[in-house]
């Protein structure tokens, strides 16, 4: 139980805990959550953590993220834990793990990749080829991307 709550508990939804300090906004970006969605989201940044020293926390009210959705968080915040909340209780808790495939979230940085040709039905798709640090290969042209490179081309 948290001793002091910076933001109140949520009734139902997802708490993403143990995000490395300063990465919370990137976590929201990679999840594709922004203010325009009307989603109730609480961001806690730079709070003390026994594991990480400092950490960020993201609370998403009213939305339970699936394991498929949360895998992508591991690219930004490999230490993150996901807590699924119902009636103020944690009903599921797990550590994020790197996704083997990421579909549709990032653009390929290769200007002559078929996925960047207008009108062609090729979906952006990346395959994890290295874990530490993560390297993802475009499934069409094979070009490698670091997470930083991918974050610059978020769809």
């Amino acid at each position: 139980m948290e001793r002091e709550l910076v933001v109140k508990k949520i009734r139902r939804g997802t708490v993403i805990d143990h995000i490395p300090a300063g990465k919370a906004l990137q976590v929201l970006r990679v999840l594709g959550i922004d203010a325009a969605d009307g989603q109730v989201v609480a961001l806690v940044m730079n709070v003390e953590s026994s594991k990480l020293g400092r950490k960020d926390i993201v609370k998403i009210e009213g939305r339970e993220l699936s394991k498929e959705e949360t895998g992508i968080i591991a690219l930004i915040a490999p230490t993150a834990t996901i807590n699924i909340i119902r009636d103020f209780q944690v009903v599921d808790k797990y550590k994020v793990s790197l996704p083997h495939i990421v579909v549709g979230r990032f653009r390929c940085s290769n200007p002559i990749c078929i996925t960047n040709m207008p009108g062609e039905p090729a979906t952006y798709r990346f395959v994890l080829v290295r874990e530490e640090p993560p390297i993802l290969s475009c499934d069409y042209c094979g070009r490698y991307h670091t997470v930083e490179e991918l974050m610059g081309s978020i769809t």
Partner: protein
């Protein structure tokens, strides 16, 4: 993996058993490369070259005709519906309705993979951007296999623009199935891409990267040469300074082993001195001529009954 109906998209999709099986069939096809063997009668090959090509397109067309099949297609987007703005995907859907197999060359990287996802007919990648040229790699390895009777144990130098040449990318992918030593010879600006370095590391390929052929020429069984294009250099003076170091001359070859085989995917411009043509080292014309039996074998294995 079974060959029939198989797409040929990247060299990595073919392991050494696949390649050795292909080479055995290609060896048989050599006897028919100047005659006919009507094993694909009634089959239609669509040759969709959105980018110009001489050797690859003509060797596919010749191979199909020698096997008794028919060829339809185009060379360059001019006069096709691509010029009117039709998507690549729609052109492929149309060809899929007409033909039993589609050979594709396109400037977009990953185009052949997309074509394979769309088409029910098998798709053969005849070059996509700087990415892949798997049938050239098959031909290159076949030339080595025919010349030396093996690929394992060979020391192979690859010289020139190893950063941007799709033939080199596919060649290294294919060679990673065998126990070879690679010597990558290029100016620093054209060193291999991280994707290629990573592949060699993951597949435990022995390799060194050097910037001068003279350092390693004595160790090589094969010297595979690709062109260095002036446009790749930000500073034209840099190009003028380095280009001579990546030119194959009789003088360079005199330092090599007597059986050293010089290969080149062609066309060459000035990276091989014409004086090399008449030496026993010149393997590039034979390499080009083996393109027909190799592609006959490939088409037969993908399309044959």
């Amino acid at each position: 993996m079974a060959w029939r109906g198989r797409d040929v998209i990247t060299a990595l999709d073919f392991d050494r058993r696949d390649l050795e099986e292909l080479f055995e069939v290609a060896r048989e096809m050599e006897a028919y490369a100047r005659s006919r063997r009507d094993v694909l009668r009634g089959k239609v090959l669509a040759v969709a070259f959105f980018e110009p090509s001489t050797r690859t397109r003509l060797s596919f067309e010749t191979a199909m005709k020698r096997l008794g099949g028919e060829v339809v297609g185009f060379s360059g987007p001019e006069g096709t519906s691509a010029e009117k703005g039709e998507t690549f995907a729609d052109t492929i859907r149309m060809l899929d309705a007409y033909a039993d197999c589609i050979v594709v060359r396109h400037r977009a990287e990953g185009a052949a993979k997309l074509a394979a996802e769309i088409a029910e007919a098998p798709v053969i990648n005849a070059g996509d951007g700087a990415s892949n040229h798997p049938t050239q790699a098959m031909l290159d390895l076949y030339t080595m296999w025919r010349t030396f009777g093996r690929i394992d144990g060979l020391s192979i130098g690859v010289m020139g623009d190893i950063r941007h040449a799709r033939t080199v990318n596919s060649l290294i992918q294919s060679l990673s199935n065998f126990d070879v030593s690679l010597y990558l010879i290029a100016p620093e600006t054209l060193y291999p891409r991280r994707e290629v370095l990573d592949l060699m590391e993951r597949r435990s390929v022995r390799y060194v990267v050097v910037d001068n052929a003279k350092e390693v020429i004595g160790k090589l069984d094969v010297l595979y040469v690709v062109r260095i294009q002036k446009e790749r250099f930000l500073d034209p003076l840099e190009y003028e300074r380095v280009k001579g170091s990546y030119r194959v001359t009789p003088e360079l070859l005199s330092r090599g082993k007597p059986h050293l085989l010089v290969m080149h995917p062609l066309p060459r411009v000035d990276e091989i001195d014409p004086a090399v043509d008449s030496t026993p080292h010149a393997g590039y014309f034979r390499q080009a001529s083996l393109g027909v039996p190799l592609r006959m074998a490939l088409l037969y294995m993908v399309l044959g009954e």
